[in-house]
Amino acid sequence: MVKQLTHVRTNKLNRYTCALLLTGLMLVGCRRVTDLGPVANPSAAAKAREALLGDTSGGEGSAEVVTGTGWATLKGTFIFDGAPPEMPPYNVNKDTAACTIHGKAPLQETLLVDSATKGIANVAIFVRKASRVHESAQATNEQVLFDQKECVFLSHVFPFVLGNTMDIKNSDPVGHNTNIDGKNSFNQTIPVGETIAFKPQKEEAVPVSVRCSIHPWMSAYFLPRENGYVAVTSEDGSFEIEYLPAGEDLEFQVWHESAGGPGSSLVLTTPEAKELKWSSKGRFKVKLAEDEVKELNLTVPSDAFGL
């Protein structure tokens, strides 16, 4: 009897375990956590396949784009509205003798506001597509200097026209490597005092980051474009783009590394920005008349930087 009772009890225990395991399985399931997001709809996929298998060449007969004549200029300023943030020093934890000035680490440049004019430096503004490019905005096969000193990239936001050559220089007594993200993907050691020439080939839609793996605090941004319709604001927040094609809708992209929009695009909702139909991707469109010089003086509230 006694023997049998224990037998029954163990069975019971087994059953409880079985039930517990099953409940557990029921609750947890065995889906992977990474199986998130939608999956394809077979009938829609079949249609897409058929379309892409078809002949896609000879599709040039689309509506003609209006291209005007003559050239125009867009210039302006980005002025900060609010209390400018104080820049903390870079976290220099290697090569301190070479990477500090009198023992002090250089200040970061994530958001530079000029104390006198309140102008915002390092805002990138560029044309997304242009049907005509003036010769002054085309690459001239130039060597453009990209230097680093005291373990700081001297061009914090570096606009670049494809076709030119980038001279990556190291003006420090310590070695660097320059690691450019994105489609051009460059990563090479730059020895003390030397200059390495690099010819990027591909355009980027927004600036990509440039780092040094040896000194990870070093940070800059690189913006290669197919034409010279690109500007980066100077210390007083001003910019000017000359010889833009007049008579067509030009879409500009505006970017700042600390801006709160998608991909660090600068999104403005001020009345003057609304007039330009400034989008949630930091873009606006203008159509310039021949020889027009359009001036845009934009106020940027601190909340555009999430401050």
Binding site: R31, A45, A48, A98, Q188
Partner: protein, 444 residues
């Protein structure tokens, strides 16, 4: 007494039987409810990219991208490749689908038999075992591979991928598959490339949708914008619909062509060392020692700068703060989720995806005293690493970045470093050599 006992036994057996049935039935119900995937596995999207701060992708677009990708590449069970990809569909079919063997003994479903548990069905490097591995398995979707014979930004050649499959990756969990038939290796290489093509196409589509599609203002019959109650223009999403939009079809064809071109170019991007730059006759120990001595000087000097990351003793204990591109992408995503930036409408989804990611790891420079070389231990393997750097990792190259470009070191100098690195494991470990004075005084 005995009848009673029998009755009791009978009763308990009956009860046992009943409970067993209940157990079985409930287990089946439970499994069905829990959705333990008995159905065919499906490709999923790269949600880190879909919900990233740079390309926030609304749900309808996610669905449309999944549809277009399925149209272009099929499913894990039924792979497909457009003719312009140049992918061999027969090779793909050998690796795709569930694992089985036909009557003649030919194996199918090779990817699921050998690879999926680490590299995942999407090739995202997040298979069930991935969490327990260090380094994490490769995510193929960026099309970036470390151990190859080509220039840094170039794709690997088929031979490069085959070499990794045959040799495995020493020092990682990647085993050797040298026992597989060569046709099977070729099929797996084709399938890995297929997963890369698919992943790269997904990135291209995500960028395209963000950059060139998106919201459009609705206009009425006379072309005036339709306004809502607050006077704001009403917008709608321009659908990703290559079936009905010729411009999109052309754009997609161009994106695919660019991806395919990158892979097809790999064979022209192989780094072939100059014969006369190979300075050392490895049989000649004196010459080898002289070459290693020059290499040592470069290793610790400010021109090659190896020591900055690999450390003053070559233990890999120099700069350890950087990340590889795969961890960096996840880190950027986690940081942006943590600081609450990004599209508010996607916030819940973003948090869900963030919670599903594995812990971020730093890229730790290789300990060169172990004598374990992940990309192979031949002199040419080390030469390629030093020449081109290691794509995706912080390791920079010292040779030209592309054919004809300007290098940092000469080929001879790079061979010197190869010789020194190969001799490093045999240096006295208890009295490691110190760095040269030229670089030590700057290290604080």
């Amino acid at each position: 007494m005995s009848t009673f006992k029998n009755n009791n036994e009978f009763g308990s057996r009956l009860m046992n039987h009943g409970l067993r049935t209940i157990c079985l039935v409930s287990s089946l119900v439970a499994l069905n409810l829990a959705g333990c995937d008995f159905h065919a596995p499906q490709f999923h999207l790269n949600m880190v990219q879909m919900l990233s701060d740079a390309t926030p992708t609304p749900k309808p677009y996610q669905e449309q991208i999944a549809d277009v990708l399925d149209g272009m590449f099929g499913t894990p069970d039924e792979p497909f490749a457009l003719p312009e990809t140049g992918l061999d569909i027969r090779k793909l079919k050998m690796s795709a689908g569930p694992a089985w063997t036909d009557k003649k003994g030919a194996a199918f479903g090779l990817y699921r038999q050998h690879c999926v548990h680490c590299h995942g069905i999407d090739g995202d490097g997040q298979g069930p075992t991935a969490l327990f591995l260090n380094p994490y398995p490769r995510d193929y979707r960026q099309g970036v591979y470390k151990f190859k014979s080509t220039y840094n930004p170039a794709k690997p050649t088929d031979e490069d991928l085959q070499r990794v499959l045959i040799n495995g990756i020493p020092g990682s969990a990647m085993p050797s598959f040298s026992l597989l038939a060569s046709a099977e290796i070729e099929s797996l290489v084709e399938y890995v490339k297929y997963l890369s093509f698919r992943g790269q196409m997904e990135t291209a589509l995500t960028n395209y949708v963000y950059n060139d599609l998106g919201e459009e203002e609705i206009t009425d019959e006379i072309g005036e914008p339709v306004l809502d109650d607050e006077g704001e223009p009403v917008t709608k999403l321009i659908p990703l619909d290559p079936e009905n939009d010729e411009e999109q079809r052309t754009a997609i064809t161009e994106m695919l062509a660019e991806i395919v071109e990158g892979w097809n170019e790999a064979n022209e991007q192989i780094i072939v060392p100059e014969e006369d730059a190979i300075p050392t006759d490895v049989e000649n120990l004196k010459a080898l020692a002289a070459s290693a001595a020059k290499g040592r000087e470069l290793f610790y000097g400010t021109r090659a700068n190896c020591m900055k990351c690999h450390g003053p003793t070559g233990l890999g204990d120099g700069q350890q703060d950087d990340f590889d591109i795969w961890n960096k992408a996840h880190k950027q995503f986690l940081d942006s989720v943590a600081d609450g930036s990004g599209e508010p409408q996607l916030a819940t989804e973003r948090e869900e995806v963030a919670a599903s990611l594995y812990p971020i790891r730093n890229a730790i420079p290789r300990n060169l005293r172990n004598g374990i070389y992940r990309g192979g231990n031949r002199r040419i393997d080390l030469f390629w690493r030093i020449y081109a750097g290691i794509a995706g990792s912080p390791m920079p190259g010292s040779g030209p970045a592309s054919p004809g470009a300007q290098g940092t070191l000469t080929e001879e100098e790079m061979w010197n470093i190869v010789d020194y690195v190969l001799s490093l494991p045999y240096e006295d470990a208890s009295r490691p050599q110190r760095a040269l004075p030229i670089n030590t005084e700057l290290v604080n």
